[in-house]
């Protein structure tokens, strides 16, 4: 869980979690992050998605071609084969009717001879009959008793009367089994016509379809133009049943189309209109088996695309977040440098000003000092002066005040004189007492007890006096600001592991936990009129002095700052 959270944090920009950032900075970082994510995503993902869909499209076309071409070839072969067989039988019948006269064909023996020859030469013939122009069967050779039967009402008869040749739909007829009729017409010299009619068994067509060697997922059959099955179909029912789907539109050559069955499943249909017949050859294949490889490949491509997109997006999120975090860190570092620089300049200006002021004050103070001293010298020599003691007391008072002024100007100069780090042996107790000297009056007015506890045999430390004064003045000032009147401030100094540790604890209002981690950030402040620089500068100084600063706080109880400073400071060597 922790690892997941750690990973998650790498994808979430830090500026979103930093409640201290100004709104405009959050907006700016957010805009940069969003632009980077969007642009990188567009550049990285668009070609990938585009290429994947082009690939899918190309593969699909290839697979469709691979799938349709065999059906097209099958349909083409079947069309050629059926047309050839019909043409062959038509030619044979035409030959017989042209070669033999009506009289000869009316002779049952001769007709039987012709039938025998046809049956021997071509398969599929069941019977043969000669029909006059009135539809009467003049002679008949076959297994049924159809001599004298009249066909004037039959469709095929009417059709062949108009055209020279006709193939009928498959029908059951008198014979009670599926068959169709091939009939040829012959006109004699005087314009009268007669018809040679042959019955063909549907098995003849079934046999040809069987010879196509269809796969198990393929179905081939014939329908007529009204959509009645002319042969049995695996998918659509038995012979002479209605083909439930639409009859495909006419085309002079073979076609392959995609259709859907009555349940909506896709089917590949190859069809061909058989010339000079009412038949349409149909080859239907379920594409699911054929599509299996394609669907598998397509799934692989889509999974690859999906995984790639996820990985790319994650990488983009991570890299954008990393980059924006680095920009934020650089911004903070730059701000810190600028603040330090401003602070250094400010302190240098104050230092120069303070040095000038102190020097100017020191001169008149030196005069007062000498004049008061002279006054004291003169009074001391006047033994008869009744006010001698009083005058001496006054002179001493002036001299003491001059001393105090001197101490103040010296301290002021010592504090503000320069920002360069310069090491010197420092008695921390003395230094903190000096800092407390600045705040002594406030402590008295506000009745704040300042308790200083110093460990025995605390060594002097090597550090920079001016910087340390600044550090402790900042922290103790904050402690005074946080402590109510009548409160306590405890300062302890002790040595631990080559470090001097100064802990300043106040009995103030404490710092809420959410502020604690940010209090050393530049410009972070909870005070209405604070600059947010004090603790930031303090932190930087302590770091530069080779030390460390830590804070602990409890709301309502108080706050403790611990400054650890190296006793022997390697940072200066």
């Amino acid at each position: 869980m922790k690892i997941l959270f750690k990973i998650y944090r790498n994808f979430v920009p830090k500026y979103l979690e930093d409640k201290t950032l100004p709104q405009e900075s959050v907006f700016r970082y957010n805009r940069v992050w969003t632009y980077v994510v969007l642009l990188t995503s567009a550049v990285a993902l668009t070609p990938l998605i585009f290429m994947t869909f082009i690939n899918i499209n190309q593969y699909q076309k290839t697979f469709e071609n691979e799938m349709m071409n065999p059906i097209l070839a099958l349909t083409s072969n079947a069309k050629r084969s059926l047309e050839f067989n019909f043409e062959e039988r038509k030619a044979a019948l035409t030959y017989v009717i042209s070669d033999k006269s009506f009289k000869e064909l009316s002779d049952g023996t001769k007709l039987a001879n012709c039938f025998y020859n046809l049956k021997q030469s071509f398969g599929g013939f069941i019977d043969l009959g000669l029909i006059d122009s009135n539809g009467n069967q003049i002679s008949y050779i076959g297994p049924y008793e159809l001599q004298g039967k009249n066909y004037i009402d039959q469709n095929w008869f009417n059709e062949v009367r108009v055209r020279d040749f006709c193939i009928s739909d498959v029908f059951m007829g008198f014979r009670g089994f599926p068959h169709f009729v091939m009939a040829v017409r012959h006109k004699n010299d005087i314009g009268a016509f007669y018809i040679l009619r042959a019955t063909i068994d549907v098995e003849f067509i079934n046999w040809q379809i069987a010879n196509l060697h269809l796969g198990p997922s393929c179905d081939a059959f014939l329908i007529n133009r009204q959509g009645i099955l002319q042969t049995s179909s695996h998918f659509f029912g038995d012979i002479l049943e209605k083909y439930i789907l639409n009859v495909p539109r006419y085309s002079s050559h073979e076609e392959v189309i995609e259709i859907k069955d009555d349940k909506g499943h896709p089917l590949i249909l190859g069809y061909s209109y058989i010339e000079q017949s009412p038949f349409i050859f149909m080859a239907v294949e379920s594409p699911e088996d054929l599509m299996k490889n394609w669907l598998s490949l397509r799934s692989s491509l889509l999974v690859f695309l999906f995984v790639s997109v996820i990985v790319i997006i994650l990488v983009i999120f991570w890299s954008s977040t990393y980059m924006v975090n680095k920009i934020k860190e650089a911004d903070i570092k730059r701000a810190r440098v600028v603040h330090d620089l401003e602070y250094t300049n400010k302190m240098a200006s104050i230092g120069r000003l303070a040095a000038g002021v102190a020097h100017e004050i020191n001169n008149p103070m030196a005069i007062i000092n000498q004049k008061a001293g002279l006054l004291k010298d003169i009074i001391s020599a006047q033994n008869d002066n009744p006010y001698k003691d009083k005058f001496l007391g006054l002179a001493d008072s002036i001299l003491q005040s001059v001393d105090r002024c001197g101490t103040i100007t010296h301290r002021f100069l010592g504090f503000a004189k320069r920002m360069d780090f310069k090491t010197a042996p420092i008695d921390l107790e003395l230094l903190i007492k000096e800092v407390l000297g600045f705040l002594g009056k406030e402590a008295n007015y506000r009745d704040i007890a300042v308790n200083l506890h110093v460990a025995d045999s605390l060594p002097e430390i090597e550090s920079d006096r001016g910087q340390l004064q600044q550090v402790f003045l900042n922290i103790i000032n904050n402690a005074f600001a946080a402590t109510s009147d009548g409160g306590n401030i405890d300062i302890t100094i002790k040595e631990k592991h080559e470090f001097a540790r100064v802990t300043i604890t106040d009995s103030g209002h404490g710092i809420p936990e959410e502020h604690l981690e940010n209090i050393f950030e530049p410009f972070y402040t909870t005070k209405k009129e604070g600059t947010g620089l004090g603790l930031s500068i303090t932190y930087n100084i302590v770091q530069k002095l080779g030390g460390d600063i830590k804070v602990k706080s409890k709301v309502g109880k108080g706050t403790g700052f611990t400054v650890s400073l190296p006793i022997k400071n390697e940072a200066f060597k």
């Binding site: 020191n362 001293g373 002279l374």
Partner: protein, 121 residues
């Protein structure tokens, strides 16, 4: 009266007057000068044992005066008087041959001790 002479050089005349008088009360012969030029002139005329020299004066600077005095009378001991903010100048003065330096305000007893130490070697 001590048998040595002290010259006090400072642009603050009131300071010079008071300190000269205080040294006199303590039996030390002292004269005052308020400019560098005045001081060099007096050094040329009178043989002073110790010069108390302020480093920050208008016109000729204290360090220039120091060098001039040393060139006139190399044996004279020069004690510098500086403001607290000019300690660096004081240390520079020591490098140029000054005997000691004080920061203002000066305690008279410390000053006399140092003068005697300078004179007696």
């Amino acid at each position: 009266m001590e048998n040595f002479k002290v010259l006090l050089v400072d642009d603050e005349k009131e300071f010079v007057a008071a300190l000269v008088e205080r040294l006199s009360i303590r039996g030390i012969y002292a004269e005052g000068a308020s400019t560098g030029e005045d001081a060099i002139s007096k050094i040329s005329e009178t043989e002073f044992n110790v010069v108390l020299l302020d480093l920050k004066m208008p016109g000729m600077s204290g360090l220039d005066v120091l060098e001039n005095i040393k060139s006139i009378n190399p044996s004279v001991k020069i004690i510098l008087i500086t403001g607290y903010g000019s300690i660096q100048l004081g240390e520079e003065g020591l490098e140029k041959g000054a005997y000691h330096y004080f920061t203002k305000p000066i305690n008279i007893d410390d000053l006399i001790d140092k003068i005697k130490e300078a004179v007696n070697g």
